[in-house]
Amino acid sequence: MKPFENIVVGYDGSHDAKVAARWAMEAARDCGAVVTIVHATGLREHLHQKYVLDVTPPELIELAQECAFELNGLHWLVANGDPCSVLLRMASPPTNADLLVVGSRGEGKREGLLLGSTSLEVAEHAPVPVVVVPSRYVER
């Protein structure tokens, strides 16, 4: 199988999103892929902007350093939409992700429910492989 070249991770700042970003950076480090971390800007973020396009969140830079992942292979993207739609769009041009990575639950989500589960929605509709990283993941 051809190694992954372009891994995209959904990011909302939650614990699970950070765990997913860590997994993606470790996987990318080992297979030589680039990692694009994308934040979906919702309706309400127009009132209180959480992240901006030109500034990679410092916690992601720290995470890359902890994982020994080259910073020039790390891209930060902010896109309008709900997390599921934004991640699915990443599998199309111009991003052309060949692997999508999500945490098992986003910010404020209730456990065990299908509705509102980005990971399930993305896994159901994505045209490329999807990795759902569990909350308790630690590198082995």
């Binding site: 800007t41 919702g42 309706l43 309400r44 309008n80 939409g81 739609s85 910010e107 509705l115």
Partner: protein, 348 residues
């Protein structure tokens, strides 16, 4: 002159503290109706809770089951924008059914203008997913009901956000023409000029994305020049408006610069697409500054009813005029390419 509105239902328990999509929005909408001083010309129809049969014309059954179960187990955040409470499913069914009740009354009277002041709003709700404050797609439920009666339905969506749910639901449906003016880029990230409809409904989606700062003259020109000829050719038998008022310059959720006067002009222009009186219904979508919401609803309804509107002046001079002709040409090129590709596929 008759305005038909739905009877208010108790929406107060679909609320989360601090959320901009809140019950006070409907208070503002009802006050705007009071401001019209219609007296005997105001008709209030009983609220109607949409049935499963009416909802499955646009939403998949599994989604309705999941949404219902989610709400009745206590609700919570569905995504970063969208919430549900214990009562939200019941309230959303009333919002979705309100349009049906208003349409039925207009069909009976063959007169007047309908206004559906209901929440939660609907135009972001997809066939299988809630998003963007929306649980059920109210305008789509109404359009689908009309379609089932053999009608040709024009939906004009002037909310500042693209109505991705409505577009998706009618993407390949030739009996429904969807026209949207919206700020771009902005949530939900869809609504490009190149999105023109599916293979069986090419030309049945018209997107008019506008830059931040665009004023009413640009929006009106976009509708007239890009959508006008398509609407004329479509020849609608009903006109439904996804009437969001968050393109108003005072609204905190976006950056267009419209005034109440612009909504008055747009309402007058859109009313002209209805084939006769009693075939126009406005559905409340967004609009989060309560004062702007009240004045803009009042402006829209008064001109749709043929009253003189002498409030806030229309706006002009914002950016975007220069891109209307480019967008019109880009749209035409996209449609020609799609037709050529269809011809190639059908050639043996």
């Amino acid at each position: 002159m008759v305005l038909v509105v739905n009877e208010s239902f108790d929406d107060s328990s679909h609320e989360v503290a601090g959320h901009p999509e809140r019950p006070d929005r409907l208070v503002a909408a009802r006050t705007a109706v009071d401001d019209l001083h219609l007296d005997g010309d105001l008709v209030v129809v009983p609220a109607h809770s949409a049935t499963r049969e009416e909802l499955v014309r646009v939403h998949i059954g599994n989604y309705l089951d999941e949404l219902s179960a989610y709400c009745y187990s206590g609700g919570g955040d569905i995504d970063q924008d969208t919430y549900a409470t214990l009562d939200s499913f019941a309230i959303a069914k009333y919002a979705a059914g309100s349009g049906l009740a208003v349409i039925e009354e207009l069909q009976r009277r063959n007169d007047g203008v309908g206004f559906v002041a209901a929440r939660p709003p609907g135009h972001h709700a997809l066939a299988d997913r809630a998003m963007g404050f929306c649980l059920l797609n109210n305008v789509a439920v109404a359009a689908a009901a009309l379609r089932s009666q053999g009608e040709r339905v024009l939906i004009v969506d002037w909310d500042v956000h693209h109505g991705n749910g409505t577009q998706q639901i009618f993407w390949d449906v030739p009996e429904v023409l969807y026209v949207s003016t919206h700020q771009w880029p902005l949530f939900p990230g869809t609504g490009l000029v190149s999105e023109v409809g599916g293979r069986h409904a090419t030309d049945r989606t018209v997107n008019i994305p506008l830059p931040p700062g665009a004023t009413g003259d640009v929006v009106r020109r976009g509708i007239e020049e890009m959508a006008g000829p398509v609407i004329d050719a479509f020849d609608p038998t009903w006109v439904l408006v996804s009437a969001g008022f968050d393109a108003h310059r005072e609204d905190p959720m976006a950056d267009l610069r419209l005034t109440s006067g612009d909504f008055a002009q747009m309402a007058r222009s859109v009313s002209g697409y209805a084939p006769q009186t009693g075939r126009l219904v406005m559905f409340l979508e967004g609009g989060y500054d309560l004062s702007a919401l009240r004045s803009s609803i009042h402006a829209s309804l008064s001109t749709a009813l043929g009253q003189t509107y002498d409030g806030e002046s229309a706006s002009n001079g914002g950016p975007g005029t220069e891109q209307i002709e480019r967008m019109r040409q880009a749209r035409r090129s996209t449609i020609e390419l799609l037709h050529a590709s269809d011809d190639e596929e059908s050639t043996p």
